[in-house]
Amino acid sequence: MIPVVTTERLTLRAPEAADFEGMYSILGDLRSQYMDGPMSRADAWNFFSREVAGWTLHGFGYWSITATESGDYLGSVGFGRHEWFPETELGWCVTSAAEGRGIAREAATAALKWGTVQPQITSLVSYIDPPNSRSIRLAEALGAVRDDDAERPTPGDLVYRHEVRP
């Protein structure tokens, strides 16, 4: 049910329980401050669950990003439509070891390619905290355009809109 997507260096695959420790290494760290982090284990578990549940509830969700060769967990990328979201969001997070190597961009590009043609994704945005310049640069590199008129879950968020063709 959850498709596997491969890129030059990465395999995006269905999340597994064992991925949680890698996810918690991201969310429990100060690096996650632009994602409502750092989080307790319990909150990180809920975050992880929401990412996984999307596949059942919407037909889209988050993949675990792994290095194809080693199988190492590198982060997560995918689609979320949480109860309080006005639209579907493309989101990503990577481990500190995976930063600075173009991994988030490679994963998000592949996720976007999958997502833009899914009939269940009728619009697509990324919600980004204004000081998060790294994510803003990635959203722009993915071709997203800032939409200041869009509804947003958190008043201070920037909304970057991706083009979709469902």
Binding site: P15, E16, A17, F20, A42, L57, E83
Partner: protein, 166 residues
């Protein structure tokens, strides 16, 4: 893959996004008091996603219960929170659905479908929750005074029997 289980009168099926308002409203109401409730929408969404994601992550989780006419009457679930020592069988019925044996029918079906793949199965029940204690008894569960219990959870541990592994 999340199973659909048909019993004599009921259909147990995967959660859908559209089920959330009924789930949220139940947890916000007085009948959630034996589920450490009432709870707000954020907690309800966390539990809803946990119940669903659990299937992908652990091979067990929550199902909604549909009455013969297709209306939602509640839910039944096997879940194991990140700091819980054992998988737990739980159930809840919406207003007006009690007194028909629905919870018993659903709980027996889910237990029988899953217990062969579990190392153990318990239910944590408030000693004042007489209907739940009676249901656990009907399921053949027995109090286990020596069971490890989740932190901060007082109350009884009812241990289910069946074809457990190991």
């Amino acid at each position: 893959m999340i199973p659909t289980i048909r019993t004599e009168r009921l259909t147990l099926r995967a959660y859908r996004f559209a089920d959330f308002p009924a789930y949220r409203d139940f947890l916000a109401g007085p009948r959630a008091r034996f589920m450490s409730g009432p709870h707000g929408a954020e907690t309800a969404w966390a539990w809803f996603c946990n119940d669903t994601a659990s299937w992908q992550l652990f091979g067990f989780g929550g199902l909604m219960i549909e009455a013969p006419d297709g209306t939602l009457v509640g839910g039944v679930n096997v879940t194991q929170g990140p700091d819980f020592p054992e998988p737990e069988l739980g159930w809840f019925l919406f207003d007006g659905a009690e007194g028909k044996g629905y919870a018993t029918e659903a709980a027996i079906a889910l237990r029988d479908a899953l217990i062969g793949g579990l190392s153990s199965l318990v239910s944590y029940i408030d000693p004042e929750n007489t209907p739940a204690l009676r249901l656990a008894e009907r399921l053949g569960a027995r109090p286990d005074a020596t069971a490890e219990r989740p932190a901060g959870l007082d109350g009884l541990v009812l241990r289910h029997r069946g074809r457990v592994t190991a």
